[in-house]
């Protein structure tokens, strides 16, 4: 984005509509946050010409974040829990994503919602695996195979290999001669149709097992990701909904694809079936995705329509699930909503709904349980459009989706996206404040000068002499300030480096201790009896321990760095003091609580050998009859798996803190530059004018000089007033964002 006079307004016009011309309150999901985002974008544009050159890259960065950021919502759960149908209902488009009686979604699908006046182009984009990726996958060099090989070296899993072979043979058969050219391609389309999605996303039938007549090209085996774009939806804030193939799939390749897709979403919607709520597989999955992050998961109990008694049984099931979640994850607040995606999709038909087909669901008990007034026409089996619309509405409410929307609204307001907006706002605030102070200083000295002018020429001349002296030393002082800032940056960097070594050691100790404990436990239990059939090693406690240690260390480090950062303010103030004696006391920017980004713990989510299920372990046991050998091998496997994970965590921390430090110092430099530039400009201007005045003769140029300075003062006052208004608004925005994260909301 260029910040010259013409471009910005046009570029930002679709986002920068002033608040007063919009509806006072956007009712859609994420409305509040979107209002803030839009306002911030507008403000960033307004601020650009008012701030100095070092601020521009930071402003551009902020704008980039504001424009590109989406809130990522991943919908996960076991196969056939109803994820795709749920997404269809959530985004108000029944039948969008294809569903089937068999596990059908085979590809991770991203639905990008971004409000815009025109329809998006392209509307759909599908990226295929590259030739290398595909041959690796088909040759079974994927992670799962690596894991099983690690478990039993030389172990040729019939099941795994057979499945890979099946997939490759099927893909080649389906795609025929064009198979080779298709790999590595990206296909884009301007219209989304049902057939299109079935071709690229759905698992498809095996040929000869009940095809739908016409032979279609089925790309799903080689599609890596699918992206669908929408310019309208039930979301105010830009949202990415992520549909996943589903876990616990006996077809192991799809299972692996799902796990890999979970890259740090802001929010997880975990879909479970009312008929089999919270099985062991669900709990393990929840543990894996959750870690200790609060307010990131929503559990939706789907398929209430398949219960014999949705109202009473449903209430019991919901209570049990809530209780179980509370017991398993006591530190979290996980909202639980019971409902039915199937009902919601009916409800979305509105007046077109065939009310008779759903009448049996709309029992008085159901209506009462959901607070819906019984409509007389409905109960009498009415068929008018009004009756149908009412039935549709009742069904949609009973389906639980208004509750889902409300929960999502709250979660978005407290999500990582909200924290990011808070961070951006703080950045803008600091830059604006810096500039405002600089202007204030300039204004003050200017009026001081004008006053001095009015009294005595001699005093004035003294003042100018003073300024000349300051200017002469200016460069030296400026260099000194920059040097100090550089030193701080290096110092902070050193602190990080210094702390990394003990962290690495501590994490390593945790892993080794765990591995030893498990090996010893195994040896003991083997001596007691043969546990072959049921033995499985649970590494979730290890993951949790590592995460706790890692985040605690990161928190401590962040606090240490923050303390040092507070020293930056006094340094800037001192610099102001030396450059403009007496002005330093005004330069007091009170520190604001900055939302600290947590580094990602994504490395901990990787599948490890220990996650594999019982059937793999039997082969391992068979290959290792000696108990001591088994125990030793177990220890090796655990350590071997977790050392690279620890290394990645460290890398993650280093890069995260490196970025944070650089960013903070960039802001400080931008503020410093504001001050320096202001001082220098004023000085030079003043001295130039003075000399000019002297040349022309005392009296003649006096009024000229004064009037010019007065004009300048007025200009400055105006600029400063704008900035003060901006500061007020930005402060209010930060308060709003922070309020949303208060507990108890």
């Amino acid at each position: 984005m260029k910040f010259d006079t013409v471009a910005p307004v046009a570029a930002a016009s679709s986002f920068a509509a002033p608040l007063s011309s919009r509806a006072p309150h956007d009712d859609r999901i994420g409305g509040k946050l979107e209002q803030i985002r839009v306002r911030l974008l507008a403000m960033a544009t307004e601020l650009a010409p008012r701030l100095d050159s070092l601020s521009q890259p930071l402003l551009e960065q902020a704008c980039g974040v504001l424009e590109r950021r989406t809130c990522r919502i991943a919908v996960i759960g076991q196969i056939k829990a109803g994820k795709s149908t749920f997404i269809n209902a959530l985004c108000g488009r029944p039948g969008l994503l294809p569903a089937d009686i068999n596990p059908w979604t085979a590809v991770v699908t991203l639905l990008q919602f971004r409000n815009a006046p025109e329809p998006p182009s392209p509307a759909a984009r599908f990226a295929m695996f590259s030739a290398t990726e595909w041959s690796n996958l088909a040759a079974g060099a994927g992670r799962l195979r690596q894991l099983t090989e690690q478990l039993v070296p030389g172990f040729r899993s019939d099941l795994l290999k057979a499945q890979f072979e099946l997939m490759r043979a099927r893909a080649e058969r389906r795609l025929g001669s064009s198979f080779d050219t298709l790999l590595g391609e990206t296909h884009a389309y301007d219209h989304i149709t049902r057939d299109l999605l079935t071709d690229y996303i759905s698992a498809g039938d095996d040929p000869g097992s009940g095809d739908h007549g016409v032979a279609r090209m089925c790309y799903s085996d080689i599609t890596r990701t699918a992206e669908l774009f929408f310019s309208q939806g039930p979301f105010a804030f830009p949202i990415t909904l992520i549909d996943t193939p589903g876990t616990n799939d006996p077809f192991l390749v799809r299972d692996e694809i799902t796990r890999r897709s979970l890259e740090n979403p802001d929010i997880f919607i975990f879909v479970i079936s009312a008929l089999q709520p919270l099985t062991t597989a669900d709990i393990s999955m929840l543990r894996l995705i959750n870690g200790l992050h609060k307010d990131r998961i929503l559990v939706f109990i789907n398929r209430a329509d398949q219960l014999a008694d949705p109202v009473n049984d449903g209430a019991i099931i919901q209570a049990r699930v809530a209780q179980r979640l509370q017991a398993e994850f006591p530190a979290l607040k996980i909202p639980v909503v019971l409902g039915s995606a199937a009902w919601a999709n009916f409800g979305l038909q509105g007046p077109a709904l065939d009310a008779r087909s759903v009448a049996r669901f709309l029992t008085p008990a159901l209506m009462a349980a959901n607070g819906i007034e019984v409509h007389p026409g409905l109960m009498a089996g009415g068929e008018s459009p009004h009756d149908r619309a009412y039935a549709a509405h009742a069904l949609y409410v009973a389906a639980g989706f208004p509750k889902v929307a409300a929960a999502l609204n709250h979660m978005i307001a407290t999500s990582t996206s909200a924290a990011l907006l808070s961070h951006v706002t703080t950045c803008l605030l600091e830059l604006t404040r810096g500039k405002e102070v600089a202007l204030r200083m300039e204004l003050q000295s200017l009026s001081g000068l004008l006053q001095a002018r009015q009294s005595e020429t001699a005093a004035f001349q003294d003042k100018v002499q003073q300024e000349r002296k300051v200017l002469a030393e200016f460069d030296k002082r400026a260099a000194h300030l920059h040097a100090v800032l550089d030193e701080i940056e290096t110092h902070l960097g050193d602190i990080v480096t210094k702390n990394v070594t003990p962290l690495r050691a501590e994490l390593g100790v945790i892993v080794t201790a765990f591995a030893n404990a498990k090996a010893a436990a195994m040896e003991r239990s083997l001596r007691r009896d043969d546990v072959r059939d049921r033995w499985v090693c649970n590494v979730m406690p290890l993951r949790e321990e590592l995460e706790v240690c890692y985040l605690r260390w990161c928190g401590q480090l962040a606090a240490e760095l923050a303390e040092i950062e507070t020293e930056i303010q006094p340094i800037l103030r001192q610099a102001v003091e030396t450059l403009m004696p007496g002005a330093g006391s005004d330069f007091d920017v009170p520190p604001r609580a900055i939302a600290v980004h947590r580094p990602s713990v994504q490395p901990l989510r990787q599948t490890v050998v220990m996650d594999l299920s019982v059937s793999w372990w039997k082969a391992w046991f068979a290959a290792r009859p000696d108990p001591v050998d088994r125990a030793a091998n177990l220890k090796t496997i655990i350590e071997g798996d977790f050392s690279p994970i620890v290394a990645e965590l460290i890398r993650e921390a280093e890069s995260h803190f490196g970025w944070t430090i650089a960013h903070t110092l960039d802001k400080a430099r931008a503020v410093a530059e504001s001050i320096l530039a202001t001082v220098r400009r004023r000085n030079e201007q003043l001295i130039a004018e003075f000399e000019d005045w002297q040349r022309r003769g005392e009296n003649a140029g006096q009024d000229h000089f004064e009037s010019r300075q007065c004009r300048r003062a007025v200009e400055l006052a105006g600029q400063r007033a704008n900035l003060v208004a901006d500061i007020g608004e930005l402060s209010a925005l930060i308060d709003t964002l922070n309020d949303a994260t208060e507990p108890g909301m």
């Binding site: 097992s209 799939d249 006996p250 299972d255 079936s273 019991i316 179980r324 299920s613």
Partner: protein, 279 residues
């Protein structure tokens, strides 16, 4: 239940007589059919179909907490088997949660005709997260001769089910039946065909027989006044196929036993020592 050992050669008539009595007792013992599956997969409903009577509670919230063995007896009896394998007879109003928490199995004797051919064990749903319940279920299964695995049609045959099934003894798996339950929730014939194709490809290799059944339709069919309609519905529900499969497997097992008994007797009568007595 396999004992391996050497016994003294049986030569005299007394020992042969005792052996014959023992073999006879074993032949008369009805084979035990165990019904397994994950939570809410329709096991209890299936048991009701097999019994021909709605004996067990089946709502989604009334999850079986204890394995129940149902066998033939002249009058209704109820006994509880404790951790040290003692059986204590009780009455139904004595069934309290405390009593159940120490128990390993419930034994219910019923005067039902069906139970002359086999006993049935209903088990707690697996993967509930309650380790003890899961252990009880698998233990009950190990003491059985036949296993039926239940899987819901709408969320059929997951990796976790395969994992558990594969951890069971081979003798059970080789003779196993997969019952895909809640057939009535399948939307269309086409869907049924597609599901069947997938089950055939992914699950059938691990079982001897696969059937699709709707327990609800079966029970309704039994109670219809119009018998011809009832019979037709019974057939369509898959219950007929299930009963046939169970009968077939049970008969196969019994024949195997008979053959085994014959072999033992023959070898005893011919005077040669025998080395293994398989139960």
């Amino acid at each position: 239940m396999r004992r391996v050992g050497r016994r003294a050669p049986v030569t005299d008539a007394g020992s042969i007589g005792r052996l014959a009595v023992r073999l006879n007792q074993r032949l008369l013992r009805a084979p035990r059919v165990c019904v397994l599956g994950e939570l809410n997969s329709g096991k209890s409903s299936l048991v009701n179909v097999l019994l021909g009577n709605a004996v067990l509670p089946t709502s989604a919230c009334a999850n079986t907490r204890l394995p129940i063995r149902i066998f033939r007896s002249n009058r209704s009896t109820l006994a509880i088997e404790t951790g040290d394998h003692e059986r204590v007879e009780i009455s139904s109003d004595q069934l309290t949660p405390d009593l159940l928490s120490d128990a390993v199995m419930l034994h219910a004797g019923l005067p039902l005709e069906r139970l002359e051919s086999f006993e049935i064990v209903d088990t707690p749903g697996l993967q509930s997260g309650d380790e003890r319940l899961c252990d009880r279920a698998t233990d009950a299964c190990r003491q059985s001769h036949l296993a039926i695995w239940c899987s819901t049609a709408t969320q059929a045959w997951k990796a976790s089910e395969l994992g558990i099934w594969q951890s069971l003894p081979k003798r059970l798996r080789m003779n196993g039946i997969l019952a895909v339950t809640f057939k009535d929730t399948i939307g269309s014939r086409e869907d049924e065909g597609r599901l069947w194709a997938r089950i055939k490809a992914e699950a059938a290799p691990h079982f001897k027989t696969v059937v699709m059944i709707s327990a609800r339709d079966a029970i309704v069919a039994r109670e219809l006044a119009d018998r011809s309609k009832g019979d037709q519905m019974w057939h369509v529900s898959g219950a007929a196929e299930l009963m046939q499969a169970v009968d077939r497997h049970v008969s196969g097992l019994i024949m195997e036993r008979v053959r085994g008994a014959e072999r033992l007797l023959n070898s005893a009568l011919s005077g040669s020592p025998y080395q293994a007595l398989s139960a």
